[in-house]
């Protein structure tokens, strides 16, 4: 059984390694050579003082002088929670943030840093996604965090149904004691005829 378990784990790991190594199919898609996303590498992260368990994190401090910057994140699982947060040093220089899955043209989520210079979102997705940050100021400084938790515990629906436990009910009682009931009825009939004959004789 242990062998089967380890074999399954190896298969799952292989699945992850092989399927995620298809860089050419990396998302979001673009034909624009000017879009060169900064790859945010996720590193193992664990802090016992937090209630979020193990995961992977990337923290990046950005001084943005271009009006638009693109970031890409790889190697996340659809079974993991993902958090993306941005904190601008100067809240008076707001940032427009959008998250992209398929391509850089259509945004799947959009937002803007608030009065405190903060923006954050959480979601789940498979393999990769992109973050686009647009700044209207000449130079903006901000911190960017991407966190992906370990895979969540999912309660998969049960596949097994116990064989019907045939218990209780009048029908069940009849079924179980059918022989005794028949014998009882027969005895009653015999007793009835016996009593009838006795009366006749008397």
């Amino acid at each position: 059984m242990k062998y089967v378990h380890s074999k399954v784990m190896v298969l799952v790991l292989l699945l992850a390694v092989i399927l995620f190594s298809t860089d050419a199919l990396a998302q979001p898609f673009t034909l624009d050579d000017n879009i060169k996303p900064v790859k945010l590498e996720l590193l193992a992260f664990e802090d016992d003082s937090l209630n979020i368990g193990k995961g992977k994190i990337n923290m990046t401090e950005v001084t943005q002088v271009n009006d638009t910057l693109y970031f890409s994140v790889y190697g996340v699982s659809i079974y993991s929670p993902i958090y993306v947060g941005i904190n601008a040093t100067d809240p008076d220089k707001p940032l427009d943030i959008s998250l992209h899955k398929m391509n850089w043209i259509n945004a799947d989520r959009k937002g803007k840093t608030d009065a405190n210079g903060e923006w954050e979102d959480s979601f789940k997705t498979e393999t990769d996604f992109g973050i686009r940050v647009i700044s209207k100021a000449d130079s903006t400084n901000y911190g960017l965090i991407v966190w992906a938790g370990d895979e969540a515990d999912l309660d998969l629906p049960q596949l097994f149904d116990p064989e019907p436990q045939e218990e209780g009910g009048l029908l069940e009682l009849l079924k179980e004691n059918i022989l005794y009931i028949i014998i009882g009825i027969l005895l009653l009939i015999i007793l009835y005829f016996f009593m009838k004959n006795k009366k006749k004789k008397a």
Partner: protein, 250 residues
Amino acid sequence: MNRIKLKSILFLIMLSASSFCWSQGGTRIARPYDMVDMIRQGRINEIERSRQMMPRSAMGNPETIRSRTQVDPTLVRTMGQFYRFMDAARSANDLYHSSLALSNEECTPDFETSASRMMPTGCFEDNACQSCYQSAIANLNVIRRSLQRLSCIYSNTKKFNTSAVAFGDNVSGVHGALGIAWQTERKGIMDQFEAFQRTYDTKYTELMTALDRNLQSINACENEHGMQDWYQRAGFIYFELMKEKYKRID
């Protein structure tokens, strides 16, 4: 001549140095060992903020906080923001279950569509059978999750491929020169997708083999403690159903 050579070498050195600075200047990635410090600093900032709202007598010894080495304040604030969010989320599991998929078009694992509670079992309340079952059931769930994930990855990649090709076809039609470059790009995308399809098939076969082996383990438990010929009566049907469900049809 030598002077010109020297000047050009110097120019080249300056050029490469400046291009290095340019590529490094935009972003900075914190190292993992910095992060724990930062998260603590983020926490400390939060504590300090809440302490400022408390009466002075309840403040304890703020000197110990101020004397800590200062980490980059932007990252500390970002970490503090992360910490507040995670505190509100309570746990990673809660966060996962309350989160939606990033894209509406994205495939998310749906286990409800599998024929739930379709297999009878003869050892539902048998302790010996339950312990025999434990690892087999755990493995079965890992395989179910992996198959569902594999299917989602395939579906997402196919959608991505289709939309990328459609996008490229539309754009290249507008500009002639771009059309030639796109044909090469398009071929690359199609080749990659074909390679991906082959990878899917290989993984599918491996996972199906693992599933069959796992169902045989369950069958062994059933034969010993519960229902005789369980695989012939139920396991086989489930296996066939899963085979059809995750088989690539395009």
